[in-house]
């Protein structure tokens, strides 16, 4: 009987996880928020593994139809004004609406790079361009990226994009160029300056919390210790740094 219950539980989890990839509809619209600001770091000091950046996204606060976080991400990182066919536009972040067909319950959530502890994109990169910073943020070193796109195929979250067109404007903080792969950087240029990522600042519902998962007393650690949250496709055991509440 216990085994049966366990199997039922697992299949439900698997269903939920799979449903994100299979039945999710890419829409523009969520809100995200950050409670805890990054700890100030001197400019000349390297990041360390005493910090592991993570996010907790409260899907109960995330409105379907709101895409303020996506818009803010695009403007901060310079991918807002893209021309060309829809299917080749880069997308660092997207809103996904899900519906449980059995119950009719609907949730809306933003999906971007999940900043895995064991990132598949890093495993497959032939040049070492995909890498994980000491503080857990997964990045692309575009200086040595050859644009092979293996990482895009390996990523379970479809979080990465390839830049097909020449980048016209370089006025933004994020250097971007044709022929390289890119994805959410958790706004490292802001985090390193003790500021919140753009999506978090933009969320009207303050639905996204960012913090140090390695600090058991941080707000995010206390929250995930007390409320139910889950990682997308946790069955893959990549241990994403992004968790979802109410999913």
């Amino acid at each position: 009987m216990a085994d049966q219950e366990k199997n039922t539980f697992l299949s439900r989890r698997q269903f939920l996880g799979a449903s994100i990839g299979l039945t999710g509809t890419a829409l523009l619209a969520p809100g995200v928020f950050l409670y805890q600001t990054a700890q100030a770091k001197p400019d000349a000091q390297p990041v360390s593994d005493t910090v592991r950046w993570g996010m907790l996204i409260d899907t109960n606060k995330c409105e379907s139809g709101c895409d303020d976080c996506v818009t803010a991400c695009a403007e901060e990182n310079g991918w807002q004004n893209q021309t060309g066919p829809e299917e080749v536009k880069v997308q660092w972040m997207r809103k996904v609406d899900l519906k449980d067909k059995n119950t009719g319950r609907e949730v809306s959530l933003p999906v971007m790079c999940q900043h895995c502890e064991k990132p598949p994109c890093v495993d497959v990169c032939p040049t070492g361009a995909s890498f994980k910073r000491a503080d857990g943020i997964v990045l692309v070193d575009k200086h040595i990226c050859i644009g092979c796109r293996y990482c895009m195929m390996a990523c379970p979250y479809k979080a990465r994009s390839f830049v097909h067109s020449p980048v016209e404007s370089h006025d933004d903080m994020m250097p971007r160029g044709m022929g390289t792969v890119e994805s959410c950087t958790m706004c490292t240029h802001l985090i390193d300056k003790d500021k919140s990522p753009a999506c978090i600042s933009a969320c009207p519902e303050k639905a996204i919390l960012i913090g140090n998962l390695n600090d058991k007393q941080s707000e995010i650690s206390l929250r995930i210790a007390s409320v139910s949250s889950r990682q997308i496709r946790a069955d893959l055991q990549t241990n994403p740094g992004v968790r979802y509440q109410g999913l």
Binding site: K41, V47, R133, H143, V167, H170, D171, M173, G177
Partner: protein, 135 residues
């Protein structure tokens, strides 16, 4: 011996022709003007001028890896740090970008025929919204 002497004679004739042709070339094609470096703001660069001329590319590459991979955003050896001091203004007091021959990087790189691709991705002018950022 006779063959060798004949070859030697031909070499002398060929050299004489080459000297003749070189002398006949217009002098403007033989000389490329030396680059004129614009004065940067500030009194002293982050390193000696002679050191910077030979090693600036190593400093930039080293800093690029430290910034991207370790999150070190000190400004002294960063690309943005260079651009902040070495911004060049045109006649309308606008900062020129890499498309302009007067851009600081172009002034030497055009002369040396070394193509740089930094600005395929990076801004070639000081960033307005965050001038202190180390990139």
């Amino acid at each position: 011996m006779a063959n060798s002497s004949e070859q030697h004679h031909q070499v002398i004739k060929g050299t004489g022709m080459l000297v003749f042709l070189l002398c006949g070339m217009p002098s403007s094609q033989a000389e490329v003007p030396m680059p004129k470096l614009a004065q940067a703001s500030g009194e002293q660069c982050v390193e000696d001028t002679a050191f910077m001329r030979r090693n600036h590319m190593d400093l930039l590459k080293h800093q690029r890896d430290k910034t991207l991979r370790q999150g070190i955003r000190s400004k002294s050896h960063s690309l943005q740090g260079c651009l902040d001091c070495h911004a060049i203004y045109d006649n309308n007091q606008q900062i020129v970008d890499i498309k302009n021959d007067k851009h600081f990087c172009n002034s030497c790189h055009n002369y040396a025929a070394v193509k740089i691709d930094c600005f395929d991705c990076h801004s070639s002018t000081p960033l307005k919204n965050n001038p202190s950022a180390g990139i």
